[in-house]
Symmetry: C2
Subunit: 430 residues, 2 copies
């Protein structure tokens, strides 16, 4: 039996906070203190932070005019693969203990320009790949929060900050968002710059945003990017939804399939149109070569770390680099050609529909902290590059969140967010 | 009257050196000492290096097995926008005095893996943009070497190293190669990774290679990338050449137009076919929006430097960032769409031809060191992404080199290099 996630958690809704600051009902300093309270109450248990600096944030929040900025001084968690000049940046790796970059990543500068206030660096798996950090799932600390953006998703879910940055090379935004019951937004490839974000794969790495709900991620992405991405002005239009029930990869579990059915039927009842969709073979081929692209590029992007500090890399990261070195360049070039053809096929496939609806992950967050789960339901979309949104709002019988994934057209980020908000609101009215 | 560049300069031909090392006629250590002699003789005058460490190279060249690597221990100059963990990296900027990155750029690691030996960092304009460093043109020290890869092009021309890395966002590989009379290779966009190369514009920045002649850059690019790019195995096929005599931008000067005519007629006499080509309007549109893409992205890529250290930026760099901040995101998105359509048009335009032949620069290197010249003849190709090769071999009446530019099909890097070698050999046999 699928039910809504009960609002027992202390999530901080960014858009609502911003409006209350604008209205003079709340100050940025008060928001920091709310974060501080949540962190004091649960950080020991959750472990979302690789580095936390509330005192710096308390100083920074005194800057005049902060409440008049687009982000109104709202606190941010920054995944610890984004370079920061004023906080350590360790990339979840033993190669970089206490590393202090010489500059901020472009996205970090853009957040600061828009009036966002970084309060700490959040736990990432090693180089945003497989090896988990210390973070636990706020909905059940015996379960993984997902990865690689573990601390960002868990920290939003636990109310440690209203907004966080993440990145996705396989499924590292959408999956942890699903596991932690928060909204996650992986924009169209290239919409948010990745300069100063530790690279694993330059054709896959995509910067993303976490926040409590869909309107909150849209608000944050709009403010950071300066783009027209907000969806909170009125009721979103009813989307034409294609449900991907038979993907060319292993099926989701029963809980997750039920969540997608619930989301689809609820959206239909609210006015959306539904149809089934089957992916053509070329998209199955593209799914199959994601790992090859990632490994080939990781072997070069992480060459220094592998060549000079291989003994401080995890077995998974070493194997990624080694498998990448073993790939023939002709196979890599073939994979790039398959990618191009698959993108064209996907664009054609979406004629007449607004979004594809699919699971965000194979199921709810698995028990245990040894793995952050698999990117089965995400990696094709990372390779194809369209906007993806994890819509929170459902949970399984044990109280763990189940997210559904809204996949839009490449470059149609606002439409994808609008459709995701439509689904989210429909679920909220059940 | 156009003549060949006299071989009075002491250029070190990489391919020949590699073959002689392979044959046991020369050791990598002896090559280092040749570089050291040339540097001792002319570096004070030329100023190619931002940082030079011959002693480190003399130690590194003792590594066993170096002569059996693809690059056979050949010395490299690294443009000082590529991060190096063992040498300072200042990006030509007063923001980063003595900066020591925590790791090597991906391309630097790939050079080391292939057995290349970095001996120093070469002078770049500030952040590879406009403001010149100290470098002078080896063919006439009163003239600019071109930029932004000033030290790499001048250093190859002066025999300081046989191979160097460069980067091109506007015309920063092809133009200095033309001005200094060396081969310059700007590969297809993305062929050489830009991870760890200071970013100005993520849709434009392209890593490239300098060496004495076309076969040398092809050898170096092949060894570094692991790709089948060498063109020295036999006589290159006679290419179908389209001569771009009436581009949608200001004409080259008479010297340069004569150089292109000479190259075209000489190649035709050697068996190449010639035709004229006119660029469709969409390519003129693309030419026109290069600057917009560069500025929009630079305003974000250099956000930290602009926001935190604006007083240490040159006026040109500040203006680039400021103009980028003033660009409407809708105009940027339009520019990206124009880019996409123009790339498709260019692909169609090249049906039935192998290369476009055009000037590498408006003329020979201008007098004075206050400017490194303009990217008029390069920036469209940087935006479009096809491989470009500067073919050296001609000079004007004052002894300054005039390079011609061979533009291939996107992804057809080996064919472009082969055609460039055909033109170079035809010029050499005159």
């Amino acid at each position: 039996m699928l039910d809504r996630v009960t609002p027992k958690n202390a999530m901080l809704p960014a858009l609502d906070l911003a409006r209350r600051i604008e209205a003079g009902e709340l100050t940025p300093a008060q928001v920091i203190e709310r974060c501080a309270e949540a962190i004091a109450a649960r950080e020991t248990e959750i472990g979302a932070f690789a580095h936390l600096d509330l005192d710096r944030a308390r100083q920074a929040v005194k800057a005049p005019g902060l409440k008049d900025t687009p982000l109104r001084g709202l606190p941010f968690g920054l995944k610890d693969i984004f370079d920061t000049a004023d906080m350590p940046t360790e990339y979840g790796s033993r190669v970089y203990p206490g590393h202090r970059p010489a500059n901020d990543a472009a996205l970090v500068s853009m957040i600061r320009r828009a009036g966002g206030l970084p309060i700490g660096k959040t736990v990432t798996t090693e180089f945003a790949h497989l090896d988990p950090g210390k973070t636990r799932n706020p909905h059940n600390p015996a379960h993984t929060p997902g990865g690689s953006s573990s601390g960002s998703a868990a920290g939003v879910a636990a109310g440690f900050f209203p907004i966080a940055t993440g990145s996705q090379t396989g499924g590292s935004v959408i999956r942890p968002a699903s596991y932690c019951g928060v909204a996650g937004f992986k924009p169209s490839f290239g919409l948010l710059p990745t300069i100063g974000m530790k690279c694993v794969s330059w054709h896959l790495d995509t910067a993303g945003i976490f926040a409590a709900g869909v309107a909150d991620v849209a608000f944050a992405a709009a403010a950071v990017s300066g783009r027209d991405l907000r969806v909170d002005a009125g009721a979103p239009a009813a989307p034409r939804i294609a449900v991907l029930r038979n993907p060319p990869w292993p099926a989701a579990n029963a809980d997750m399939n039920a969540a997608v059915e619930t989301a689809a039927r609820t959206a239909e009842a609210a006015g959306a149109s539904l149809r089934d969709i089957e992916l053509p073979a070329i998209l199955g081929d593209a799914y199959g070569i994601h790992r090859l692209v990632q490994a080939y590029e990781a072997a070069r992007a992480l060459a220094y770390e592998y060549d000079r500090h291989g003994d401080r890399l995890s077995k998974n990261t070493r194997e990624l680099a080694e498998s990448g070195l073993a790939i023939n360049v002709a196979d890599y070039d073939d994979a790039r050609r398959i990618t191009k053809r698959a993108r064209q096929a996907l664009a054609g496939l979406m004629d007449g529909i607004d979004i594809i609806l699919s699971p965000s992950a194979p199921g709810a967050a698995p028990e245990g902290l040894g793995s952050t789960g698999t990117s089965t339901f995400n990696r094709l979309w990372t390779l194809m590059g369209p906007p993806c949104v994890n819509v929170p709002g459902l949970m399984n019988s044990t109280g763990l969140p189940l997210g559904v994934q809204v996949i839009g057209r490449f470059g149609g980020d606002r439409a994808a967010l609008g459709a995701a908000l439509f689904v989210e609101r429909a679920l909220g009215r059940r």
